[in-house]
């Protein structure tokens, strides 16, 4: 590993100033479970490492007064996985956090790091996209929020300015009669996903679809939402026909590559299957809660 200088800024402004001094040669460090190896393999800028863990206010899970939750970007997977209220309202997110590596990885890996790493196979990205999450980004002077989908440009690429810091992830409050679920396909527990899918579904008082978002991971350069499903199924029951619509549209929406883990055709087919299973789980949660 190359030598580098290591900084522990106490404020966001200080961290951003450090980055702005030499952006091409600097990187932010959160949990380090991806970055450490990127530094070792020369895949990340190596001269200046700016550790964000000393910056106040970037960690923790806080209920918002208007409903929903704010998860600090440096909150670790283990803390999300075991959080009782998140488990109740956002089981899809907790289920995804629970399969990121093994326990020692989840004790270090952060949610913000997982999103900014911008892997199309990142397990937490898929449920967060389905849940309608927004993220807060700071440039040192002000914080702006953007829909999660606008965070990613491509594999391992975000749309953020080099010095910007993703500070928090905001989960909207769960709608009445809603449910969410996560499904994942992998060869073994410790491998990354071949495909993953998440569904966030809300029903109206008659038990018909009020809103529906289906997200797919590992099937495109970024984690994607399946377009057109909500308008196709609004006002309809979650029956076999709806399941088939979700399955076939998810399969069509998938634009996967083939690699050592799975062929492109298998990934697309399983994207449909997992989306359908996640819909069934979400519907059970939405119906069971009313």
């Amino acid at each position: 590993m190359h030598d580098f200088s290591y900084h522990t800024p106490a404020t966001l402004a200080e961290a951003i100033a450090l980055m702005q001094a030499d952006p091409a040669n600097s990187c932010y460090l959160a949990g380090g479970t991806d970055l450490y190896l990127a530094l070792e393999h020369g895949a990340a800028p190596a001269g200046v490492v700016i550790d964000l863990k000393g910056v106040a206010g970037l960690e923790g899970i806080v209920a918002l007064p208007e409903g929903g939750w704010r998860i600090g970007a440096l909150t670790r997977m283990a803390d999300i996985e075991h959080h009782a209220e998140l488990q109740r309202d956002y089981p899809s997110l907790c289920a995804a956090a629970e399969v990121v590596g093994g326990p020692p990885i989840r004790n270090r890996a952060t949610l913000g790091g997982n999103l900014c790493n911008a892997s199309p196979a990142a397990d937490t990205s898929t449920p967060l996209l389905a849940l309608g999450t927004t993220v807060a980004v700071s440039d040192g002077e002000q914080e702006r929020t953007l829909p999660l989908a606008e965070l990613w440009r491509g594999p391992r690429q975000t749309t953020l300015a080099p010095s910007a810091v993703l500070t928090a992830i905001m989960l909207p409050p769960p709608a009445p009669r809603s449910g969410n679920a996560f499904q994942r396909l992998t060869r073994s527990a410790m491998d990354i996903a071949v495909v993953n899918a998440a569904v966030c579904l809300a029903l109206d008082e008659a038990g018909r679809v009020a809103s529906l978002r289906v997200a797919l991971g590992s099937v495109a350069p970024v984690v994607v939402l399946v377009e057109g499903l909500e308008s196709a199924l609004a006002g309809k029951p979650v029956d076999e026909a709806a399941c088939e619509q979700v399955r076939s549209r998810a399969q069509t929406a998938a634009r996967p590559i083939g690699d050592v883990r799975a062929s492109a055709a298998y990934r697309a087919e399983m994207a449909g299957t997992l989306a359908m299973r996640a819909l069934q789980d979400a519907a059970a949660m939405a119906g069971g809660g009313s």
Binding site: M1, H2, D3, F4, S5, Y6, H7, T8, A21, D22, L29, G32, T33, Y36, L37, V48, V49, D51, K53, A78, G101, G102, P103, P104, I105, N107, R108, A189, M190
Partner: protein, 162 residues
């Protein structure tokens, strides 16, 4: 540009405070093995897959191979050497011996720490909880059954000791 070279490091290792200088690129694993002489934490895959290097850092099980020693500044680290003493083994160590949980032994320091981390917050782990707790630790002898048995016995011993 700020200076490269070494940084001061204050850290508590197995209960003993230490003050030293390290290069920022030094991993916590290298620091523990080469600076502290604590070779119980093993250098396995060095990419966070095998768990042979895991230690407790500020109460959490972590991969020492994916952490820079400077990130542990001000913190407290426990390695397998800090779990018990030869004349007074920790319950997990005693239970692994009694269960024949160790074959080649390379994974065992990590397994012991993973078991220790589990038993800190779950005194009655079922088999599923035990297997999840060691899911970040590979045993290439594939001796998992004895290890699981050892952790179950450790929970019993620990409850007896409490």
């Amino acid at each position: 540009m700020s200076a490269q070279g070494t940084l001061p490091l204050q850290i508590t290792v197995n209960g003993k405070p230490r003050t030293t200088q390290v290069e920022p690129r030094t991993s916590l694993l290298t620091f523990l093995r080469e600076e502290c002489g604590l070779t119980g934490s093993k250098r396995g895959c060095e990419e966070g897959e095998c768990g042979a290097c895991v230690v407790m850092m500020d109460g959490r099980l972590v991969n020492a191979c994916l952490i820079f020693a400077v990130e542990a500044a001000g913190g407290s680290v426990t390695t397998v050497e800090g779990l018990g003493e030869a004349q007074h083994l920790a319950p997990v160590q005693q239970a692994f011996i009694e269960s024949g949980a160790s074959q080649c032994g390379f994974c065992i320091p990590g397994m012991l720490l993973a078991a220790h981390a589990l038993l800190q917050h779950d005194t009655h782990p079922d088999e599923g909880a035990i297997r999840r707790a060691i899911s970040g630790n590979l045993c290439r002898c594939t001796g998992y059954d004895r290890i699981v048995k050892g952790i179950r016995l450790a929970a019993e011993l620990q409850r007896g000791h409490a």
